[in-house]
């Protein structure tokens, strides 16, 4: 970030008075971060800021203190380290170490003692569970699971509280899990799975990894659950699904489902083994809510921007999802994640519609084309979001859905800026590009101009690299369009982040 000289009084005042260009604000804040003098000048220029700081100091001095002495972080880190290294140490002060660390350490110890011959697999399983438990974020009250049995399919909250109402079939399953000493209140969690494993005296374990998924399969003898598999997404280690086989060969499958809208009922059942989603509550969700949930589910898979997946709302309100280029496992994941959303159908594309995987990039040209393809895909996604959820539709969404929509927009807008930077870097290897501030149109929605510009850049890059070498003027035009695209992406980011 470039340094600037001490800013003038006018410029410092402008920071709080008017909307300065983003680059200027960034430079000013960078300067204030490193210059005590100007930070103090700012307090003089804007007394409200100084007064706020003074109030904070007054209040800060009287805020409650921590109720307990602070834990010894070094001891706690060493305890985590012992668990990671599977050193059988049970002593030591527990202090404020989260309970899961103790359980996992015990599980690792048990595995090391009882299953020496297959210790490496046991350790692999325990290490995966340890990492998964530490990485899994706390779930919101709206998180839900799809539960499937041979008799029925239903939705339930991901984590049950003591007050959650319970359908009849859920009560029966709860009792089976209780008999197996498996925590039914939070069944799709690495910590719960690890705790259950720790109690099993005689077990064998397999860990398999393929198609971006890691599956831990534990076969137990002597318990009510004879086999339990937990599948984790290998990229972020979040639990994707779990399967439990009981001694009578009955089974229960549990998978993550899209979050419930804020005002929906926590639980409802759907009979049978339906391939598509069933109504989850008596209060029907709006089409916009369902479309958003569908797009969020697609987005959560990391698909949508790079892998072409069409989400179409039919005139009768049905939502049809068509994955054009998904592998089999990913398609199964997609179907699982869409369960629980009303009236959604996953359509398998005809062989003629199916798109081939992009070849892996090998050289500079492919990298540039890949980067510009990624930009076009992401701009297309942002444009679809803008078209599907204009301000008046967005206003009808629940607060939680609005937050989800904003987060998705912000995430992709920032990723788009990253994609553009990548393309500029890749292009610079062939020929330096001069980017400058561009004149942006007023009036037109930014997302439309953004999509047009992304498509134009994509076409120019393809033409320069794949079709003809291009002369200096073609590179100059590309530089101008990229400048426009970069500025539009920045403006879009600011709009959605506001």
């Amino acid at each position: 970030m470039p340094e600037i000289e001490h800013p003038t009084e006018e410029l410092l005042s402008a920071l709080f008075e008017e909307q300065l260009p983003a680059a200027e604000v960034e430079n000013l804040l960078a300067h204030l971060d490193s210059c005590r003098i100007c930070e103090q000048r700012l307090g003089l220029i804007e007394p409200a800021f100084a007064r706020y700081q003074r109030c904070r100091e007054l209040i800060g001095a009287r805020l409650p203190k921590p109720p307990r002495p602070w834990g010894n972080i070094v001891a706690e880190m060493q305890e985590v380290e012992r668990a990671r290294r599977a050193v059988p140490t049970l002593g030591g002060k527990r202090g404020t170490v989260p309970r899961w660390i103790g359980a996992l350490a015990a599980a690792i110890l048990l595995g090391a003692i009882l299953f020496w011959p297959q210790r490496s697999t046991e350790l692999r399983a325990d290490t995966l569970l340890l990492k998964a438990t530490s990485k899994t974020p706390r779930r919101s009250a709206n998180s839900r699971l799809t539960v499937r049995t041979p008799m029925s399919t239903f939705l339930r909250p991901a984590v049950l509280s003591g007050t959650t109402s319970e359908a009849q079939e859920m009560g029966a399953i709860r009792m089976r899990f209780a008999a197996a000493h498996y925590d039914w209140s939070d069944p799709l969690s690495a910590g719960t799975y690890a705790n259950w494993r720790a109690q099993i005296a005689h077990r064998t374990v397999e860990v398999s990894e393929h198609d971006g998924l890691s599956t831990i399969r534990t076969v137990a003898s002597g318990g009510a659950i004879t086999e339990a598999s937990l599948t984790l997404d290998a990229t972020n280690l979040s639990p994707v699904n779990a399967r439990f086989v009981f001694s009578a060969q009955d089974w229960v499958e549990i998978a993550a489902a899209p979050d419930a809208p804020v005002d929906s009922r926590p639980l409802a059942s759907a009979p049978g083994d339906a391939p598509t989603a069933q109504p989850e509550s008596k209060a029907e969700q709006s089409v916009a809510e369902r479309e958003l949930m569908t797009r969020l589910a697609v987005d959560r898979l990391g698909a949508g921007a790079g892998e072409p997946i069409d989400v179409n709302v039919e005139p009768d309100g049905r939502i049809v999802v068509t994955p054009y280029r998904l592998g089999k496992q990913r398609e199964i994941q997609l179907r699982a994640s869409l369960q629980g959303i009303e009236r959604v159908t996953v359509r398998s594309p005809e062989p003629s519609e199916r798109q081939e995987e992009f070849p892996t990039s090998l050289a500079g040209a492919d990298l540039a084309i890949d980067a510009s393809n990624a930009i076009a895909s992401r701009a297309h996604l942002l444009s679809q979001l803008a078209e599907s959820f204009p301000a008046e539709t967005e206003a009808e969404l629940t607060p939680a859905s609005r937050r989800d929509l904003r987060d998705m927009r912000v995430r992709h807008a920032r990723a788009l800026e990253g994609d553009i930077d990548t393309l500029v870097r890749v292009l610079a290897r062939t020929r330096p590009l001069r980017l400058s501030m561009s004149e942006l149109p007023d009036g037109d929605p930014v997302h439309k101009a953004l999509l047009e510009s992304a498509v134009a850049v994509n076409r120019m890059v393809a033409s320069l690299y794949a079709e003809k070498p291009g002369d200096a003027s073609a590179w100059q035009r590309l530089g101008e369009e990229l400048s426009r695209l970069r500025d539009l992406a920045r403006r879009y980011s600011q709009e959605v982040e506001r």
Binding site: Q19, A22, V25, L32, L58, P64, I73
Partner: protein
Amino acid sequence: MPPVSDDLSQTAAVQHRVADVYSAARDGVFRYLLALGLDAARAQEVTQDAFLRLYVALRDGAAIEDAKAWVYRVARNAGIDSLDRNDRESQYSAAIADTIASFAKDPEQELIEKEWLEGFQDAMENLSPQQRACLELRGQGLQYWQIAEVLQVRTSTVGEFLRRGIKQLKRWNECRK
């Protein structure tokens, strides 16, 4: 595979790094969580958990450029997650409200600028959660780029939140004159 002694020294280096950040930043993180609306016990638990997560992430090889901003971000996310929805919507800290109320009972209240505080709570409640977060994090000594890291926005957006926040505070300040 690196020799065991290398791994041990690497572990010690990570523990050193986390311990340094812990002693320098834990009180600030704790106060920030109080301002976010957590009670003291929960704020302490989330604070400690955030530093342990930092350790696990660093041991897993995560490239964390600024550990302090990372801890604030993790603590903020966990803190917001642990609030129930109503608290999340109101986003105003009971701990701060109680602290402000305690000034009125203080026999030495004449000695402190109590008039400044009288409208402070109202002014704070009029700020959006992002505006409040920017001001609070700055108050905890974070740099503007670190605040951007915590809130996962651009630095210029932090500037925009501040500008709007200060605009609100100016109204309060002018009323107090």
